[in-house]
């Protein structure tokens, strides 16, 4: 099978349309960032509190809000996330309302208290099964010993109950339950569970109708440190790449590749700003991936240009670059297409946690491929023209029309 058979497209002839498009995209993104006063950072950079909660049935957000207000947590953001049928909600607090000098997690504790009041139905002395770990469950089982294992020795009993507790919690965590059960009887399908185990659980635990899936509290210092670090490290990475390409090709190629990669990052960030998506640590990981991918793509084209330059020193640089892009086009489209396939499956099936991550990659793969052709290559052309032009001008004076601005 073959998609492209020796294409002959004049890429450099149509470059200005695409450069204009790039400038428009970059400008739109930058304007959006300016208008919105910077990027929307996630709490890992901004500092603050985020609690992700799953409810047994669709929660009444207004009730949650008024309860949070009662706990003096005004200004909390309450947001549904993911598939509606999973009833998941994120409660966020910014740094000011979240943390006090004594307790960083004050805000988080208040949120959990508020939710317990609304959805807890807890009984004194009992533990919430929906927010318990295998460790807690196995301790309770061991104490009550519903399977009558005491005669087999403490080690054997401990091991059995640990495994059982793990199986119970796994059952609770697996879909469609995803962390919440509403009746202990549901657990009877787990292997090794008998009526005694269910009775022990009923006796020691209760079932709330919410489960805290994730909580994150970030103080001001950590957020600031991380933000700086992400920027420095990315720039240092780009610098290292520039040096390597300079060493292997020429400085102009290195500059072109770095400019193209930088262009990709700026445009991807622009999309984040336009769509009001938050920049989190995982998004930074995605941007680093994008930098690697885009650089890879650019180098493949550059390698072909270098090879063609060696084979045919007299060829016009524009024709040569067009030919190189056309020769690698099949590979470019295939690789990008396949990577795009992988990234899209991540975007569709990857779940809420890596949503921002996969979004950045979906945008990044397209932009990264495009920039190798329409940003990196034209920069090389303009550099090479100067070089070729000035070299020609010094050698012979037969090129009046190619008169090139004099090099210093």
């Amino acid at each position: 099978m073959e998609f492209f058979h020796e294409p002959k497209i004049d890429w450099m002839g149509i470059k200005w349309y695409f450069i204009a498009l790039s400038l428009a995209l970059a400008a739109t993104g930058l304007i959006s960032m300016v208008v919105k006063k910077g990027l929307a950072y996630g709490i890992d950079f901004r500092g603050g509190t985020v609690v992700t909660v799953k409810f047994a049935k669709a929660p009444n957000l207004d009730a949650i809000r008024s309860e949070l207000d009662r706990q003096n947590l005004r200004g909390a953001t309450i947001q549904r996330i993911g598939i509606p049928s999973e009833h998941e909600v994120i409660v966020g607090l910014d740094l000011k309302t979240t943390t006090s000098s004594e307790a960083l997690d004050q805000g988080k504790r208040a949120i959990v208290t508020a939710l317990s009041g609304l959805f807890g139905q807890g009984q004194a002395g009992k533990v919430d099964f929906n927010n318990s770990s295998p460790q807690t469950v196995s301790e309770h089982l061991l104490a009550a010993d519903p399977l009558g294992l005491a005669s087999k020795g403490i080690d054997a009993a401990t091991k059995t109950y640990q495994d059982l507790a793990e199986a119970l919690i796994n059952y609770r965590n697996n879909p469609p339950r995803s962390g919440l059960i509403s009746d202990f009887q549901e657990l009877s399908s787990v292997q090794g569970v008998n009526a005694g185990v269910i009775a022990t659980l009923r006796n020691d635990f209760y079932l709330s109708s919410f489960a805290v899936k994730n909580s994150e509290v970030v103080g001001p210092k950590v957020g600031k440190d991380l933000r700086q670090q992400a920027v420095y490290v990315t720039l240092a990475g780009l610098g290292a790449m520039l040096v390597y390409i300079w060493f292997r090709f020429e400085l102009s190629y290195g500059v072109a590749a770095v400019v193209a990669t930088f262009h990709d990052v700026i445009i991807t960030l622009g999309f984040f700003s336009l769509l009001n998506k938050e920049i989190t640590l995982t998004v930074i990981a995605a941007l680093l991936t994008l930098v690697g991918y885009s650089m890879n793509d650019t180098i493949v084209v550059f390698d072909r240009i270098r090879e063609n330059v060696r084979l045919n020193k007299r060829e016009n640089i524009v024709d040569l670059i067009n030919r190189s892009i056309n020769q690698t086009l099949s590979r470019t489209i295939l690789t990008s297409g396949l990577t795009f396939l992988a990234v899209v499956s991540l975007f569709v099936f990857g779940g809420e946690v890596i949503h921002g991550f996969s979004f950045a990659l979906v945008v990044g793969v397209i932009i990264g491929t495009y920039s190798s052709i329409f940003i990196a290559s034209p920069i090389v052309v303009s550099f090479q023209r100067r070089l070729v032009g000035s070299a020609a001008a010094t050698k012979s004076k037969n090129y009046p029309r190619e008169a090139v601005p004099a090099r210093r």
């Binding site: 770990s133 489960a211 899936k213 509290v217 103080g219 680093l288 991936t289 650089m295 020769q327």
Partner: protein, 538 residues
């Protein structure tokens, strides 16, 4: 030619076997296979669930304590050496970064200057002695920068040890306690997998647990103001005012000696117990050295009150009925059973040399981790199957080649993560995805090049050789560039960014091996079996 292919094929086989053993070991049944897999592949907290804390160790506390002790020691020594002085005081420069610690001695007669200098050089070698400008009788001792740095580093290490002890005594499995951030930040990261009651664990980790027994000079008073008023607004020298329990009669305040008779460092053991009224308390025993000092102080002060001070708060101030030597109890009736257990635990594990404040905390519920793994696995399988299917359709026979190389790449990557004890996190999975992308790319580069060579009319063998040769340059360039930046990410990044760099680097090295070497061997094998003149399936 045949033997060359055979030796190469054997070396590839060895790599595969070593990798698969690295991942699953020698399982006898399915259960063991699962257990081995779980013990070899370490999942990060974001995938497994647990608590992740970043803590700031206020190491300056430890330096302050040293400075305080020096102050006491200097006064004693000056008295012992008959060097008269008017005043010895701390004069720290807290604005400096890092803070400078100084002790100023005033009113030393000029003829005693030599004695002071000898004393300083012999007994206070961590301190520099200099004359205060414009005053021949005043001297300043400043803590040497190296000594202060040493104390800070020791405090950090000791904090790590203490936290480690406490976490281990709590029964947390596989905790991670490590330095975090730049050196000089004095930050720690604590990772506790599977902990679902982080509040209690955090309290235990953070409690300084500085236990001190101090003689009560005066009190109790009902407020800070009345305590000060009783002494004309100024506390007697070498004493301090500490708050006690707040009971039915309101607040209590005590004036106690600044220097403790014995501290938590002198404990040899602490156990939860009950007092004579059946209320929870903590029984402790003292080391021989501590018991000697405790006996001396209690023996000389029968009838006085002794304050039991924990983290600068008076828990109890019982009267000393008789000399107490090597054991005692911390009671007061304010404790719950849980509190007593935790208190005994932190006392056994020793005090933190400096106070600790959390900078960030993340608690990943176990069901979220399970969700992330499930989603991630589904997404990876879908993406991977799509790629494999496409390669087969597009490149037919050579597609098998590419798919084998890709599969082997993943096996090597996972095995290497197991062998070097790396932890797989979400950003790490990002590294895997980029690896797969670049792995596909290498194969596509090679195959497209072979097709090109074939189009130019080259013979099949020459076309394969030419394709590999040309593509190799490109593959090296792309891989080295990416490894370069991964190295930078690993060196200067922390936590998640490092995880990304590690998986990416391993993946790229594995990819060089599979797409260039393994894939070539398969091609050569196919070519050697091929009838002359037959076409290559690509």
């Amino acid at each position: 030619m045949e033997t060359k292919i055979r030796t190469r094929a054997i070396s590839i086989g060895v790599v595969i076997v070593v990798c698969i053993l690295g991942i699953i070991g020698f399982p006898k049944n399915f259960q063991e296979l699962k257990d081995n897999l779980r013990s070899r592949i370490h999942l990060g907290l974001d995938l497994k669930g647990g608590t992740h804390l970043v803590l700031q160790v206020h190491v300056e506390d430890a330096v302050n304590i040293t400075a305080d002790e020096t102050l006491e020691r200097l006064r004693d020594e000056l008295r012992a050496k008959n060097v008269p002085y008017a005043d010895v005081q701390k004069a720290d420069d807290t604005q400096a970064q890092p803070p400078k610690h100084r002790v100023v001695v005033k009113g030393v007669p000029q003829e005693k200057s030599a004695d002071l200098q000898t004393l300083a050089s012999e007994q206070f070698s961590d301190w520099d002695l200099s004359r205060m400008p414009g005053d021949v009788t005043s001297w300043m001792l400043s803590l040497k920068t190296t000594a202060a740095a040493n104390i800070r580093n020791q405090a950090l290490l000791q904090s790590m040890n203490t936290i480690n002890n406490r976490v281990n005594q709590l029964g947390v499995t596989e905790p991670t306690i490590a330095e975090y951030g730049q050196s000089g930040d004095f930050e720690l990261v604590v990772q506790l997998p599977g902990v679902d009651d982080p509040d209690r664990v955090k309290d235990i980790i953070q409690s300084t647990a500085l236990l001190e027994f101090k003689l009560v000079q005066d009190g109790p008073f009902s407020s800070r103001e009345t305590a000060l008023a009783a002494h004309g607004g100024v506390l007697p020298p070498d004493t301090q005012l500490l708050q006690g329990q707040t009971g039915q009669n309101g607040e209590t305040w005590y004036v106690v000696n600044r220097v403790a008779a014995v501290t938590g460092r002198d404990l040899s053991g602490a156990e939860p117990s009950h007092d004579s009224n059946g209320r929870p308390d903590v029984n402790f025993t003292l080391t021989r050295d501590g018991a000697a000092r405790f006996g001396r102080v209690t023996g000389a002060n029968v009838g006085k009150f002794l304050a039991i001070v924990l983290d600068n708060k008076v828990y109890d101030a019982p009267v000393i009925n008789s000399q107490i030597n090597d054991r005692g109890e911390i009671a007061g009736g304010a404790f719950t059973e849980q509190k007593v257990q935790d208190l005994a635990l932190v006392l056994r594990s020793g005090a933190l040399p400096a106070s600790i404040k959390p900078l960030s905390e993340e608690v990943v519920g176990p069901s979220l981790g399970a969700d992330s793994i499930r989603h991630g696995v589904v997404a990876c399988i879908v993406g991977f199957v799509a790629i494999i299917a496409f390669m087969l359709v597009y490149y037919r026979g050579a597609g098998i080649n590419a798919d084998l190389a890709l599969l082997m790449n993943l096996i090597i990557l996972v095995a290497a993560l197991g062998y070097i004890n790396a932890t797989l996190t979400l950003p790490g999975i990002a590294g895997v995805i980029l690896t797969v992308g670049m792995g596909v790319d290498s194969n596509v580069l090679i195959f497209e090049r072979i097709r090109e060579e074939l189009r130019l009319g080259k013979a099949v063998g020459a076309a394969v050789a030419g394709g590999f040769e040309h593509a190799f340059v490109t593959i090296i360039d792309t891989h080295v560039t990416t490894v370069c930046s991964a190295a930078i990410l690993f060196t200067f990044g922390t936590g998640p960014i490092q995880g990304f760099a590690v998986t990416l680097t391993i993946g790229l090295i594995a990819n060089l091996f599979t797409s260039v070497f393994v894939s070539r061997v398969i091609f050569d094998y196919v070519l050697s079996r091929r009838e002359k003149g037959a076409e290559l399936s690509i």
